[in-house]
């Protein structure tokens, strides 16, 4: 039965369509990803990669089509509900809260696992302190996987950190709530080649420690895509023009045409 097959998929979109005014950003996109898979989403600028993330996470509503997450329909769900269901993301232009500490930024990502009641937060300070200390240790241990020295600076503001550390913290913020699907939007943007390589090593390392984590990564650096993805989907003008392993798509004439503009 197709229902059984579908439930094995972490995310499955069917005919996903979104346009802004007259511009078609997504034109009937079918994308699926399975547990433990790392899917690369590539394509020229303006091909709809970030829009795809924004529609999946509920920032934009889809015009047509459906999004299923773990077999449940989330097409019309709010960003909050989608996060609670288990999808976390990073942003292309790093969106950390620069005046807050590393710990605070990571805790923003842990929202669904923190006790949010006003009474608990204001009056039950003993219980709050225990919850705080447990979460501090969890966050510290997560940062330590990425960068041990950074784990000693958890209470410092993010504003003073270099780009690679900010990226690491953004990824920690997305991972702290143990999502089933992680959406990485150009994690290498603004970093040097070496930094990018380091960060990808970190991501693979973390992925090996977390079971069943599926990742969709948008990336322009083909070296990164080749190194870490199992499978790729190529977009152009909001449509899927190719799919398969990196080798397959790299030799696909349609892909070469999209990137190099050959006639």
């Amino acid at each position: 039965m197709s229902g059984v097959a579908a439930s094995k998929r972490v995310l499955e979109t069917r005919g996903l369509t979104k346009s802004f005014g007259g511009v078609l950003a997504l034109g009937g996109l079918d994308i699926a990803i399975e547990p433990n898979e790392i899917l690369g989403l590539i394509g020229p600028n303006g091909s709809g990669k970030t829009t795809f993330f924004n529609v999946v996470t509920g920032i934009y509503g889809a015009d047509e089509g459906t999004i299923a997450f773990n077999g449940a329909d989330i097409t019309r769900a709010s960003p909050q509900a989608i996060y609670r269901a288990g999808i976390a993301r990073t942003f292309q232009r790093s969106r950390l809260s620069l005046s807050l500490s590393i710990f605070d930024n990571i805790m923003i990502g842990n929202h669904k696992r923190l006790t949010q009641g006003l009474w608990f937060n204001l009056m039950r300070r003993g219980a709050f302190r225990r919850e705080f200390e447990e979460n501090y240790e969890t966050a510290r241990a997560l940062v330590e996987i990425f960068d041990p020295p950074l784990a000693k600076r958890m209470l410092e503001p993010v504003a003073g950190l270099p780009m690679i550390d900010r990226r690491r913290i953004e990824i920690c913020r997305a991972l702290i709530s143990a999502p089933l699907l992680l959406l990485l939007d150009e994690p290498s943007a603004g970093m040097t080649h070496d930094e990018t390589n380091q960060l990808m090593g970190d991501i693979l390392e973390v992925r090996n420690r977390i079971e069943n984590l599926a990742i969709i990564i948008v990336e322009h650096e083909m070296g990164v895509i080749e190194r870490i993805t199992n499978r790729c989907v190529v977009l152009n003008f909001g449509r899927k023009i190719a799919g398969g392993s990196f080798r397959e798509i790299a030799t696909d004439p349609q892909v070469q045409e999209a990137y190099l503009g050959m006639q």
């Binding site: 920032i59 909050q80 609670r84 929202h111 923190l114 937060n121 958890m154």
Partner: protein, 389 residues
């Protein structure tokens, strides 16, 4: 200078700062002659600049971060000393009470401006709603005055609900405009409403707890009489301590983190499950509640309310206190309130030009120290808390 990494931060710099401030405020309240007042104010500015150049501010800040609870206790002691010195001076004690109650109001306003980023330019209106509530209830019922304070806060929060929907639906400047419109509407409503005394306003009966009338002087023996404003001082002090504890805990909790997250980036906050509407509403209602409670007691203390005391201009004065002290800075609120309330009272010569002075100070602060005179420090959830490793 080399410092052993694990040296515990000393309490002394913070304590010294509090002692100096207490002494300074006593001197400022004491002097009458205008040239002496001006000299004292100039001294304060010079001392602040000198402290900055001699790098004395950093140890004080560290000391406050590590020993905040103890230093808050010393601050309370300092206020008590000031009032003890001026125990029979109505004017000075009233001034201290006023500072404390405005501190409660700005702590509330700070939840809205500083944490949630909800701009409220109707602070004085909510203050006035508290005062009017006290006038009506004390005049017509026998409800205990302490309960009236809570009702005053409750009324401010409930009437604020009417504003909540437009404030949540609009953003930034438009939300600010909604609150400005509300401030102007409320003043007009009070002026034309005869049941609430019209433009002349209403008398407010004083505070009364278990037959103890706050408006009677306290006589100890035959020749020793204390200002009746001392009654209000005790209650104002309790109120400011309670408000401080609540706001401090709010900031140092997941709720405070939610508010910061949605103020700094609503989209990212939504992507991490933070319910924008819920937390903006909590901040707006809680802030107005504190402002209303302060207004209710202020009304009873002044024994009179009129629409002219709660105009848009008064709301701007409240906002200037928040801006001077530093948005989101709990301690900064006290400094902002002291500067805005005490300076014009002592500097009688500038009375007419008060607003010019506020405007000038706010512009200078925004230009040269945009985070306020006492910028908000990075959040620590428990004062002096250090990670185990």
């Amino acid at each position: 200078m080399w410092r052993k990494p694990d040296t515990p931060t000393s309490l002394l710099p913070g304590l010294a700062a509090l002692v100096l401030l207490t002494g300074y405020l006593i001197a400022l309240l004491w002097v009458e002659e205008q040239t002496t007042v001006i000299a004292l104010l100039a001294l304060a500015i010079a001392a602040a600049v000198a402290a900055k150049f001699l790098r004395l501010t950093a140890p004080v800040a560290r000391s406050f971060a590590a020993h905040e609870d103890a230093l808050a206790g010393f601050a309370v002691a300092g206020v008590i000393v000031i009032v003890a010195v001026f125990h029979d001076d109505h004017f000075a004690v009233l001034l201290v009470d006023t500072v404390l109650l405005y501190a409660v109001a700005t702590l509330g306003l700070n939840i809205q401006f500083g944490y949630a980023g909800v701009l409220n330019f109707a602070g004085a209106s909510f203050f006035g709603i508290g005062a009017y509530t006290a006038a009506v209830i004390n005049g017509n019922t026998g409800i205990p005055s302490l309960v009236v304070l809570l009702i005053g806060g409750g009324m401010a929060a409930v009437i604020g609900l009417a504003l909540l929907l437009p404030v949540l639906r609009t953003r930034g400047h438009y939300a600010a405009l909604v609150t400005i419109a509300f401030a102007i509407l409320l003043k007009t409503f009070l002026e034309v409403n005869n049941a609430l005394g019209g433009p002349q306003g209403l008398q407010v009966k004083g505070m009364r707890i278990f037959g103890w009338s706050f408006n009677d002087s306290i006589e100890l023996g035959k020749n020793f009489e204390l200002s009746f404003y001392l009654n209000y001082f005790v209650l104002s002090l309790l109120l400011v301590v309670a408000a401080f504890v609540i706001v401090r805990r709010l900031e140092r909790s997941w709720v405070g983190l939610n508010l910061d997250a949605l103020r700094l980036d609503e989209t990212a906050a939504a992507c991490f499950g933070i319910d924008i509407v819920r937390w903006k509403a909590v901040a707006f209602l809680l802030g107005n509640f504190l402002i209303g409670v302060a207004g209710a007691l202020y009304g009873m203390m002044g024994s009179f309310v009129a629409p002219n005391n709660y105009t848009f201009a008064d709301s701007l004065i409240l906002v200037s206190m928040v801006l001077l002290g530093g948005m989101g800075s709990t301690w900064g609120m006290f400094l902002g309130v002291i500067i805005v309330i005490v300076v014009p009272e002592k500097l009688q010569a500038i009375e007419e030009y008060r607003f010019l002075l506020y405007a000038g100070m706010v512009i200078l602060v925004l230009l040269f120290r945009p985070e306020g005179l006492l910028p908000r420090p990075v959040r620590s959830y428990f004062s002096g808390w250090k990670p185990q490793r």
